[in-house]
């Protein structure tokens, strides 16, 4: 570990705000890239199933 304490790690000699903000924003965008297509997949499958049921009637 480069830092002496957890507080040190969070503050990073005054650069903590910049570093954590960067990682936070990146994490949100990365998460969106994982979750977005998953939700689309669910919707697509539901749409196809509804269509199949309609055709069977």
């Amino acid at each position: 570990m480069f830092f002496d304490s957890f507080t040190d790690f969070i503050q990073m000699n005054g650069h903590g705000m910049f570093v954590w903000a960067s990682y936070g924003i990146a994490a949100v965008i990365v998460a969106q890239n994982f979750i977005g297509p998953k939700l689309t997949r669910k919707r697509v499958i539901k749409d196809i199933e509804r269509q199949l049921r309609r055709e069977q009637k």
């Binding site: 570990m1 480069f2 830092f3 790690f9 990073m12 000699n13 005054g14 650069h15 903590g16 910049f18 570093v19 903000a21 960067s22 990682y23 924003i25 990146a26 965008i29 990365v30 969106q32 890239n33 994982f34 297509p37 998953k38 689309t40 997949r41 669910k42 697509v44 499958i45 749409d47 196809i48 199933e49 269509q51 199949l52």
Partner: protein, 252 residues
């Protein structure tokens, strides 16, 4: 070798094959990427030494550089996919290109935002209109242009062609981004990583960067596969294989 490549090309050109093959690949990309990212980010944030000039703010490099690098490679992939679609009329190629656009845009946003945040403590400003930053902003606009084309043009054939042509023309911007730090005076530092020279960074700073770069590429593969598969399912909804896939469950 050549015939194997040719076979792979034809297999990937078939939506069903593409779907099945990428379903097999996907967990590998996901887990290798996740492990590399976890190790690289923890190493970069907590264990790498601070930069002697920039202090701890340099730790932003472990997301900024991978995102910036990948947003440019993704653009080239999108353009190649568009070109293959235009020249050989390969439908699947357009589908992949369409899937890349929003992902590439999100990566360009990560690069721009983390760069701005990094610039504040390092240069004293969030933004300057210099060559590197401006050409990266243009990259984002090119991605948004491709997305806008797909949203605006109803006719699928027309949308594919227009998006592909814009993608191909926009590749002019890629060498401009790359050489912007050499051709013009800029606040931006020169390339951290070059394939031809030995790294100027200490290994304990450099190795985690390599890990996060490879990790980001793996995650990128996961995202492209996910979006492409969604598109395939919808296009092929009337085929037997999709119907049987749904009855056996495709909810992964």
């Amino acid at each position: 070798m050549w015939s194997a490549l040719k076979r792979l090309y034809h297999q990937l050109g078939s939506p069903k094959w593409f779907f099945e093959l990428t379903t097999k690949w996907n967990p590998w990309f996901l887990w290798i990427g996740s492990i590399l990212m976890l190790v690289g980010v923890v190493w970069g944030l907590a264990f790498a030494p601070a930069d002697y000039l920039q202090g701890n703010s340099f730790r932003i490099i472990y997301i900024h550089v991978p995102a910036a690098l990948l947003s440019q490679s993704a653009y080239i992939m999108m353009a190649v996919a568009g070109l293959v679609g235009l020249v050989w009329k390969m439908k699947m190629s357009f589908v992949v290109g369409k899937a890349i656009a929003p992902i590439g845009a999100s990566l360009a946003i990560i690069a721009l935002v983390t760069g701005a945040i990094w610039g504040k403590p390092t240069w004293g400003t969030w933004w300057v209109w210099d060559a590197r930053l401006t050409s990266m902003l243009i990259l984002l606009f090119l991605y948004m242009g491709v997305i806008a084309i797909y949203n605006a043009i109803e006719n699928e054939d027309m949308a594919n062609k227009a998006a592909a042509i814009l993608s191909v023309i926009g590749t002019i911007n890629i060498p401009i981004i790359k050489y912007s730090v050499e051709w013009w005076n800029t606040l931006h530092q020169p390339a951290t990583i070059t394939l031809t020279k030995k790294p100027t960074m200490a290994p304990e700073m450099f190795i985690p960067l390599v890990l996060t770069i490879i990790g980001f590429y793996c995650w990128f593969a996961v995202w492209v596969i996910a979006r492409t598969q969604n598109e395939i399912l919808w296009r092929e909804r009337r085929t037997k294989w999709v119907k049987s896939l749904l009855t056996t469950g495709a909810n992964h």
